[in-house]
Amino acid sequence: MALFPDPFDALVGLQQALDSFRASDWLRSGPSAGGAYPPVNVFRKGHDFVLITELPGIKKSELDIQVNRNTVRIAGAKEVIYPEKASLHRRERLEGRFDRAVSLPIEIDADSVKAEFHDGILALLLPRVERDKPKSIKVN
């Protein structure tokens, strides 16, 4: 066994895991139809869920995040500014408004949701409400 885990193997593993869940029909109901901006990845972490999305170039103050029962809404606007009198050689970055609602198959404890925004990545930690957590049933 290797002394240290190989970080490159870890990345390949993550990329493969992400690929195998691409376009799964896990989020089937609600207004969350895939293909809307921003694209999201949803992870399970114990009982809770983590929603991660890439929002490069968006100001924290321009983000509006709402959580209600099992729905997360992410809205905002992105602006791409060019200096005056500049000639554009290449223009690939997009700008505009976005407003997306994602429904998860769990009930979210809205009061303890944590949002982090670093380097253009928004991560929402969505804890499950206590009464929605699975209970172990003892067989008599």
Binding site: L18, F43, R44, A86
Partner: protein, 132 residues
């Protein structure tokens, strides 16, 4: 212009390298804007998830190369259940046509957007010629 149109999703472009990488894992091409003024060339690239310590910008033989590594240790202990995009490092290079003052290149990274300002060397700057 902002506020008038809806943002649409564009799939990340996977990098097709001229030379092969010796490390496994997929690389993506960051979306870029390039604009030029009389004094400088500006390259703006979107590299979400890259922090300043994992960014490498080099200029060699007029080729500007940008390499950004993401920190995927944050994904440890998380099990994907639904995904719409993949993650990976970023890499892109440009061949510069103008003479750039290499000493004065500046880079700024904010909210996952890298802005490179490449000032033109004195001899390449636009001179306005007065007609007498």
């Amino acid at each position: 212009m902002s506020g008038s149109q809806e943002l649409t999703v564009r799939d990340k472009r996977e990098m097709v390298a001229k030379e092969e990488k010796t490390t496994p894992g997929r690389y993506f091409v960051p979306s870029a804007d390039i604009h030029e003024t009389g004094e400088a060339l500006t390259v703006v690239m979107e590299m979400p998830g890259v922090d300043r310590n994992r960014l490498n910008v080099s200029l060699e033989n007029d080729v500007l190369r940008v390499d950004g590594q993401i920190d995927f240790a944050k994904y440890e202990g998380m099990e994907p259940v639904y995904t719409e995009y993949n993650v990976g490092h970023y890499s892109r290079s440009f061949t510069l046509s103008n003479k750039i003052d290499q000493e004065r290149i500046s880079a700024q990274l904010e909210d996952g957007v890298l802005t490179l300002t490449l000032p033109k060397a004195a001899e390449a700057r636009v001179r306005r010629i007065a007609i007498t």
